[in-house]
């Protein structure tokens, strides 16, 4: 998956690939537990164990002899990150069961579903219980921490005054993931942590740079042109998680480079639409899901040239 062309000589196995994602995402859980309390840890543990148990049941039902690739705990972790911190404990169980049994078991075959299972489980929960998902935290700066007000003032007087701009209050809280009122997604606790671990994963080549880059461009350019608040929209909700972890998912992204660029640009543009004209809860996941539906078509249009196509004979 993340390996270069002669895969047989690469040390990165699928198991190791998934495990490094789990390890990379775990600091966000710690940050969220510090912000929202111990129930976040229980929620994440329930989600990961629930998804793994569902996966094991599916393997037993199919009498599968494939090695464990640890994709189910990763799905559980990603699903838990998309949930609000105060979500009831049956939410991740239901979403994980939907992701494993319906998307992987019925629709996808052996671990290569055509639609992102995590996002499908999340959509299942959000369509079923729309009121449980908090609206985007638009009251920025009402709950500023002392750290935020001190550092923002210091930056404004010592740094930003040189270039005659002023940073409004509340953005450092948003960036660091603290200062949210009671209802926030778990992943909203760690934009800073998420960006740090993403540098490591990008450096290891675990996902292609085209997806985050063009997703970001297609999201931010229309936002700038229509005068939206770019800083707020990038660091709030599940945008960064979708950008770096859910959209570049190996089995649901296109194969060719132009396909990746088209896929990422479309997802970014629909994310922009859902943020600008959406109501309430974060709709970025639906933008990725919508482009996931188009991936088979994109693959058909923009596939890599094979030796067959060259008609050497």
């Amino acid at each position: 998956m993340g390996s270069r062309m002669p895969q047989a000589f690469d040390k990165v196995t699928t198991f190791r690939f998934h495990l490094s994602f789990i390890v990379a995402l775990s600091p966000i859980v710690v940050a969220s537990a510090l912000a929202h309390g111990w129930q976040v840890l229980v929620l994440v543990a329930v989600s990961m164990i629930g998804a793994s148990v569902c996966d094991e049941i599916l393997r037993r039902l199919r009498r599968s002899t494939e090695p464990h690739d640890w994709v189910a705990p990763l799905w559980g972790l990603l699903l838990a990150l998309l949930l609000p911190a105060q979500a009831p404990f049956y939410f991740p169980l239901l979403g994980g069961a939907f992701a494993v049994f319906v998307v992987k078991g019925l629709l996808g075959g052996g671990g290569t579903p055509w639609i992102n299972p995590v996002l499908a489980g999340w959509a299942f929960l959000q369509v079923g219980w729309p009121s449980a998902f908090p609206p985007l935290n638009l009251t920025l700066g009402d709950h500023r921490s002392a750290f935020d007000s001190h550092v923002t003032d210091w930056l404004n007087t010592n740094l930003f005054s040189w270039v005659s701009v002023q940073l409004p209050g509340g953005y450092l809280d948003l960036f660091g993931g603290v200062g949210h009122p009671g209802t926030a997604l778990i992943v909203e606790s760690g934009p800073l942590v998420l960006l740090l671990v993403t540098i490591y994963l990008l450096a290891k080549g675990y996902f292609p740079w085209e997806v985050p880059a063009f997703f970001f461009l297609a999201f931010c350019l229309p936002l700038v042109l229509t005068g939206g608040n770019v800083l707020f929209h990038v660091f709030s909700g599940a945008l960064l998680l979708n950008l770096f972890f859910l959209a570049p998912d190996p089995s649901t992204r296109p194969l060719s480079r132009w396909g990746l660029i088209l896929f990422a640009s479309g997802a970014g543009f629909f994310a922009f639409l859902s943020r600008t004209w959406g109501s309430g809860a974060d709709g970025v996941g639906y933008a990725v899901l919508l482009m996931n539906l188009l991936v088979p078509w994109i693959d058909r249009r923009f596939r890599r040239k094979s030796l067959n196509d060259l008609r050497l004979a």
């Binding site: 199919r62 019925l106 629709l107 055509w114 369509v127 109501s279 809860a281 639906y286 899901l289 188009l294």
Partner: protein, 188 residues
């Protein structure tokens, strides 16, 4: 409603195939002929029928308070349109899908009933019908690509074919339903 809303609602949020489950026969393999030609013919008949229905509704039913006859009017319009269609194409048997395929086609019957009566303005009906046709054709193309990929997956034998196609359609519905929620401020 402005035209952007109409296009968005007809194309995505109220997609006839995925949201109302109309015209399923086109991808469940019950129809003959190439996909592009069938979508083109269906689209042409859809737009013409919607316009004819809208005009008839506006000038016949509403002035004489006959709104209860709307469903009847849909079939009347479709019968007339398919009559014209068969007169125009009937000289070459086999070259075109027969007209009886279209008379009770659920995409046309349901679509004309939904779109034709959605607005008293003929221009809005025209916009909505074109957007509905584009949404239907786009959904068919995307779904056929998805089914092409599903054919290469390892899937339990009892699910292959029709059950899997219908479940995939359900999953696509879930995505569009969620999109409808996300845009619920905009789309009724």
């Amino acid at each position: 409603m402005n035209f952007v809303d109409i296009v968005f609602a007809s194309f995505l949020a109220n997609n006839l195939l995925v949201f109302h489950f109309l015209g399923l026969g086109e991808f469940l393999g019950e129809s003959k002929g190439t996909l592009g030609r069938r979508i083109g013919m269906l689209g042409l008949l859809m737009v013409v029928s919607c316009l004819a229905y809208s005009v008839a509704d506006h000038f016949l039913l509403v002035p004489f308070h006959g709104e209860v006859l709307r469903t009847f009017l849909v079939f009347l319009v479709l019968a007339l349109v398919t009559l014209v269609y068969s007169a125009a194409t009937g000289s070459k048997p086999g070259a075109w899908p027969p007209a009886r395929d279209y008379l009770v086609h659920s995409f046309l019957v349901g679509g004309v009933l939904l779109v034709g009566s959605s607005s008293p303005d003929v221009l809005e009906v025209l916009t909505a019908s074109v957007a509905v046709v584009l949404g239907y054709g786009g959904a068919l193309v995307v779904l056929s690509a998805i089914f092409g990929r599903l054919a290469r997956e390892r899937i339990p034998a009892f699910l292959q074919g029709l059950p899997l196609q219908l479940m995939s359609l359900g999953l696509v519905w879930l995505v569009l339903q969620g999109l409808g929620f996300a845009f619920s401020g905009k789309v009724s």
